[in-house]
Amino acid sequence: MINFFNKKKIFIKYIPFYMTIILASVSSTIQPPHGYAMTFSFIPLICILFWSLLLGRYFGPIQFFFIGILTDFLMGTPIGSYLLLFSIIRFITLKVKERFQVTFFYENVLAATILILVFYFFNNLFLYIYYSKVIISDYFLLNIISTILLYPAFAVFFYWVYKTTSLEKYYAET
């Protein structure tokens, strides 16, 4: 019986990780609307930013490792590229959380908006270093804007999950 409760506790504790994996996989099967050059919001980024801003260092590096590798496989990018970008954004997110004490919902959205811009800056910097190319197009801008605009909707849903599962309790115990 005790074993069962322990298993349940571990399962609930890793809900952010499972949700990120599932949503990243689902988002890759969504067909972007016709006429927008296959541009769609970057769901894995939304997930990792929200949970990193909320849970801080409890959303750990091992979870980031699996999410980064999975995103690389899903997108068909060179293995390690999203892992690197996510690791950098995790580092910056933790610094932002430490420095500004992001607690309210609007603070979370504001911080995430800036971090999304930072992520895309590093994304282009990576492309320049790795491929010697830079993406400057309307669709790149569309990708950034759609990710920023979709973030609040996902944040509301994630907050609801956070409250319903009482995730804070599981992290407070550790």
Partner: protein, 285 residues
């Protein structure tokens, strides 16, 4: 008292150790990802094994996962179609009228072609081998433009094989598993295809820009280009077969521009049923 001091000291120490461990964890993650990237850059073949395993392992899972998602998005598209029904009908009427003209011309040319072939005792071209494919997943980002399709080496597909929609080539196979393969779309920043203009026969390289247009490079200066002229794969390099339509030159999108933009295959981002040409670049079709 002594015991409580020890306890709080231990707690502080544990918290400090945990924070340090997380900091080191991020550093290790960054170093490891750079190492992975370097391995991939130096020897691309070393990671292909893992990629093909992943493609096989997830193709079934993503197909099942994509079914409810696709039904919802199809519903949205149907609503969208209904909204634009009137304007689409007008466009189709116009297109139909112009197609009638082309149909007559095509029939005339076909009969003329047959007669000329008879005169030359020409043999009929063998039909190209191809396999139909369905899209499982797509990258959907601004960084890469790739899709995964549900055919692999089991169906005779090889790396480099061109993938076509009803209009022309939309990409080529870059990674292959047994049951699934990854297609690099022509619009991707890493896509470079040797092409020629269908009528004027000028040769150039068609490059992707991660947008809805392609760019033409290495075209001779001072050439006259006809409006609405198709660009076909030239087959140079031997990886792609010759004569597959891959883009369309239009004066409309090139007015007052230094770089030459090309329209990719029509409806390249609609991702319905596709066709993979089973081209063996060692022995031809």
């Amino acid at each position: 008292m002594h015991r409580s001091i020890n306890k709080s000291y231990l707690l502080k120490l544990t918290t400090y150790a945990k924070e340090k461990a997380h900091g080191i964890g991020t550093t290790i993650l960054i170093v490891f990802s750079i190492l992975l990237l370097l391995v991939g850059k130096v020897n691309e073949q070393s990671l292909i094994f893992f990629k093909s395993i992943y493609l096989d392992a997830t193709s079934g899972f993503l197909t099942i996962l994509g079914k409810p998602v696709n039904s919802v998005s199809e519903g949205f598209y149907k609503i969208n179609d209904l909204v634009y029904l009137y304007s689409e009908n007008q466009d189709l009427k116009e297109e139909n009228q112009s197609l009638h003209k082309w149909r007559h011309l095509a029939l005339e040319l076909l009969s003329e072609n047959e007669e000329l072939k008879k005169l030359l005792n020409g043999t009929k071209k063998t039909n190209e081998k191809s396999v139909a494919a369905r899209v499982i997943s797509n990258s959907g980002g601004s960084y890469v433009k790739t899709i995964t399709i549900n055919v692999g080496s089991k169906n005779g597909v090889r790396v480099g094989n061109p993938v076509l929609n009803n209009w022309g080539m939309i990409g080529r196979i870059v990674e292959i598993g047994r049951n699934a393969s990854r297609v690099l779309l022509t619009t991707d920043i890493n896509s470079q295809i040797p092409v020629y203009f269908e009528n004027s026969l000028h040769r150039a390289i068609l490059v992707g820009k991660n947008s809805d247009l392609l760019e033409l490079k290495f075209l001779n200066k001072r050439v006259y280009l006809q409006n609405e002229e198709r660009l076909m794969t030239s087959g140079e390099g031997g990886i792609l077969p010759r004569g597959i339509p891959v883009g369309l030159f239009s004066n409309k999108i090139n007015e007052n521009k230094e770089k030459l933009n090309i329209l990719p295959a029509k409806d390249w981002d609609k991702l319905s049923t596709l066709k993979v040409i089973l081209y063996n670049y060692n022995s031809g079709l």
